[in-house]
């Protein structure tokens, strides 16, 4: 087990370095000039060139990458070109806000997805399975951007039950667990949870169906094992796949959704990325992407390790 963990951690290193390179290159490949975005609309090409020099963007690409990587390794992600605030501070605050939304949506998606998947798998081809199927197909097919706008129109504008945007009431000093704040969380949670919920439910249904067809289940049934205890065996065997999917979906959510967060003006990483893209704020864009990508690498590692704990076969492989 220890060897497996070590090996997995070692694998993560080249992946991490590859990720930094891709993150750094991507923003350089994108059309448009980060310096141009920084200057007033009227600025001339000459002024752009001068500012490019000031920010060291006239240096060779690999030199820029090396400097950036060196700083990033020391935890210095630079300062935002636009606001002058440290990127690390900006990303930290956004990650916190996305975390709230991701945990809430993750809970909803996992619990609902889990229940729906099990129910549909156990009662395969019965009416309840068809209903779940309908829900999950809708869940994976509906663009969450559209769903978010629809939720706002119905619940915020028409019915005025819930606030349309933001993450707290006017003058809120930060997140709190009271109704005024939680009410802001409901619509974004639904919009964010729809897809992962459906994905989890569909995956779990498939694994449950798969497990139910296996010989050991027939054996257990023949032994006359009570239904509840049989269910436990089925779930335990279907769990590794479900966990992997849940982990990745949770990772997705923690990455923040650019679209959902923009519609709800939720100040998380998605909102931050969108604003960094529009302002061509290079350090901010690279810093945010780097943190998110590294988080994914880490999350994959954790999922692998948890999976191997629940399924001994993986360790041996």
């Amino acid at each position: 087990m220890l060897l497996y963990i070590l090996r997995r951690i070692l694998y993560a290193v080249p992946i991490g370095i590859g990720v930094t390179f891709i993150v750094f290159s991507l923003v350089h490949i994108a059309p448009g000039d980060p310096i141009s975005a920084l200057l007033p609309n009227e600025a001339t090409q000459e002024m752009v060139e001068a500012a490019r020099k000031e920010f060291g963007l006239d240096r060779p690409f690999l030199v820029q990458y090396a400097i950036w990587l060196g700083n990033a390794a020391m935890g210095n992600l630079g300062t935002s070109i636009g606001s002058g605030r440290p990127v690390a501070t900006e990303v930290a605050s956004a990650v916190g806000n996305t975390f709230i939304l991701a945990v809430s949506a993750g809970l909803v998606a996992c619990v609902l997805g889990f229940l729906l998947g099990i129910v549909a798998g156990l009662w395969r081809d019965r009416p309840v399975d068809h209903v779940v199927n309908l829900i999950t197909i809708a869940g994976v097919s509906v663009p969450h951007y559209w769903l978010a706008i629809l939720l706002v129109i119905v619940f915020a504008v028409d019915l005025n039950w819930l606030p349309p945007l933001g993450m707290g009431p006017d003058r809120s000093g930060g997140w709190q667990f009271d109704w005024a704040h939680i009410s802001h969380l409901i619509l974004p949670t639904i919009a964010t949870a729809a897809i992962p919920m459906a994905v989890i439910a569909r995956t779990l249904r498939a694994s449950v169906v798969d497990v139910l067809d296996q010989d050991f289940v027939t054996t257990l049934r023949a032994k006359g094992l009570p239904r509840q205890r049989l269910l436990w065996h089925v779930i335990r065997n279907a769990l590794p796949t479900a966990l992997a999917v849940m982990g990745l979906q949770l990772g997705n959510m923690l990455g923040g959704s650019v679209l959902v967060e923009t519609v709800f003006a939720w100040p998380g990483t998605g909102f931050l990325l969108a604003s960094a893209i529009f302002q061509r704020d290079l350090p901010l864009l690279q810093g945010t992407m780097l943190v998110l990508a590294m988080f994914f690498v880490f999350l994959n590692l954790v999922v692998d390790l948890v999976q191997s704990a629940t399924d001994p076969r993986i360790r041996r492989a």
Partner: protein
């Protein structure tokens, strides 16, 4: 984007919606900005005119500002922290500014000549301890003529220009005066200053939450007693997504939403919201390449395209959120002049001119335009360009649209039509502010402005305009200045150097509770007279 479902019920529901909204202190105005982040609050706001609108003229004053108190005439210059200014007898490069006495910064320190010198050093003196590159970046383009500055006495400063420049006062409104004392107090740190800014403006900082909220409080000791804010609080929220701004206004979360999209106008008005517009100094044109080999080197082609566009039809498509343009400035402007070429919709005349220029069904004119998907002042570029594409097809012109992301388009603009990457592109669709004589006419037309040095994208050259531009720089009488600008503009239109399409109207949607709003003919707003009905 359609906000269709259930909105027919809106009229009835809005009253309930407003009543059910969270309880607020009276006199709080909540504004949904189109920006994705709070503009810089240190006296050098970024993010264009919207940044200046919300974080510039609220917290700070310039030496010379705009008169935003009228909606029925253009917003002219007026004294702010300077009470008067004039050139020195015998040396037209030296400008003396008399400063207003008895003005205090929000931190309590006095405004005087040292404050002005401090801010100029902050911007342009790299040796100065408080030099601030961010300030220079935002300011430099607006103060191109400035050479040097010095204090004469506590309430007089002298600014010197590189050459005689009668238009120098027009460059002053962007120079906002920040408090040197506050900078000292915060450990000489401009980053710290941004969270605790101090200016002389009608609004003081309340709270700043990056990317979420900027709260301003009235400066009850404001030096201009007529402009002491009536509101208790002004809250500015960055909401870049247009449907989110609309929803925020309809649900009572904000009282004011910038730039509603044309397809939401009907819903908003039926819900009782007020769509406020006015002619603002802005133009949405096609900038043309007049380089050899471009079809627009021929004035007949330039005129033909101008005559082929149905501007009234376009305005209708935009639900009234634009006005037809007949030149770079509006017809009501003192700078419009009396051009003989009338920019209007006349497809028959357009066809005739194209035929004269050698184009017809057998040899159709094919042109390519660089356009953007969105961007500051670009309005609704895809919709508008496709409309124009149809118009041009009607007169036998094939317009190809090459779509760029906004920053990419700006890059194409700055390098000029002659740059290799712009090969084949003869039209650039970039909108412009026409706030002052320089940005209204001069910067597009003179040889020293040819890109990449300046904003003359298509290498326009005209001896008559060059002569008039020189004359203008040396004319110090305001009335005569206006006459010369009008003659330049007249020549500009007669030469059809641009294809003029529309002017923006600075649209904003307001809750009926917002009182006292004056929609000036300007990019800027005076929030002082505004109040909010309970």
């Amino acid at each position: 984007m359609k906000l269709g479902i259930g909105l027919k019920l809106m009229a009835g529901l809005v009253a309930a919606a407003l009543a059910a909204g969270p309880a607020l202190a009276e006199g709080t105005l909540r504004v949904a900005m189109t920006l994705a982040d709070i503009p810089l609050t240190d006296g050098a706001p970024d993010q264009g005119t919207e940044g200046v609108r919300f974080a510039g003229y609220t917290l700070y004053d310039p030496l010379i500002s705009y008169d935003l108190s009228r909606s029925d005439k253009s917003a002219d210059l007026r004294p702010a922290l300077a009470t008067e200014w004039h050139t020195v007898e015998g040396d037209k490069t030296k400008w003396v500014f008399k400063l207003r006495q008895g003005v205090k910064f929000h931190d309590g320190s006095d405004f005087n000549a040292d404050s002005v010198i401090f801010n100029l050093d902050r911007a342009f003196n790299k040796e100065f301890p408080a030099y601030d590159p961010s300030f220079e970046r935002q300011l430099k383009i607006y103060l191109p003529s400035l050479k040097s500055w010095r204090k004469i006495d506590d309430y007089t400063v002298e600014l010197t220009t590189k050459a005689p420049d009668s238009l120098f006062p027009y460059q002053m409104p962007r120079l906002l005066i920040a408090s040197p004392a506050q900078y000292e107090k915060l450990g000489k740190n401009w980053d710290a200053f941004r969270s605790q800014p101090s200016g002389t403006g009608p609004w003081k900082i309340g709270e700043l939450v990056p990317r979420q909220r900027l709260e301003l409080l009235p400066n009850k000791d404001y030096w201009d007693k007529d402009r002491v804010p009536k509101l208790d609080r002004l809250v500015l929220l960055p909401i870049p997504e247009v449907s989110a701004r609309t929803a925020a206004l309809l649900s009572g979360r904000v009282d004011w939403a910038e730039s509603p999209s044309p397809d939401t106008v009907e819903k908003l008005t039926s819900a009782g919201m007020v769509i406020s517009t006015n002619a603002i100094p802005h133009v949405w044109p096609y900038t043309l390449s007049e380089l050899p080999g471009s079809p627009f080197a021929d004035i007949r082609v330039r005129k033909a395209i101008n005559l082929a566009i149905d501007r009234e039809g376009l305005v209708k498509v935009l639900n009234g959120l634009a006005v037809p343009a007949a030149g770079n400035v509006s017809k009501q402007s003192a700078w419009f002049g009396k051009p003989t070429f009338e920019v209007k919709y006349d497809p028959e005349e357009a066809k005739k001119l194209l035929k004269e220029a050698g184009y017809g069904p057998d040899n159709p004119l094919k042109i390519k335009a660089a356009i953007s998907t969105s961007g500051s002042g670009q309005m609704y570029p895809l919709l508008m360009n496709e409309f124009i594409q149809e118009n041009l097809r009607d007169v036998g012109v094939e317009l190809e649209l090459e779509v760029f992301e906004w920053e990419a388009l700006r890059g194409r603009r700055r390098v000029g039509a002659q740059a290799p990457e712009n090969e084949g592109i003869v039209i650039l669709n970039n909108s412009y502010s026409t706030n002052d004589p320089y940005v209204a006419v001069l910067r597009y037309l003179t040889p020293e402005e040819i890109a990449p040095k300046g904003s003359n994208w298509g290498s326009i050259r005209d001896e008559e305009i060059e002569r008039l531009a020189k004359e203008l720089r040396n004319e110090f009488d305001a009335k005569k200045q206006d006459e010369i600008i009008a003659r330049i503009h007249q020549r500009f239109v007669d030469r059809a150097d641009f294809v003029w399409v529309v002017h923006d109207v600075g649209s904003r949607a307001l809750s009926p509770k917002v009182k006292g709003h004056v929609h000036a003919q300007s990019w800027f707003v005076d929030f002082s007279p505004i109040s909010i009905a309970p």
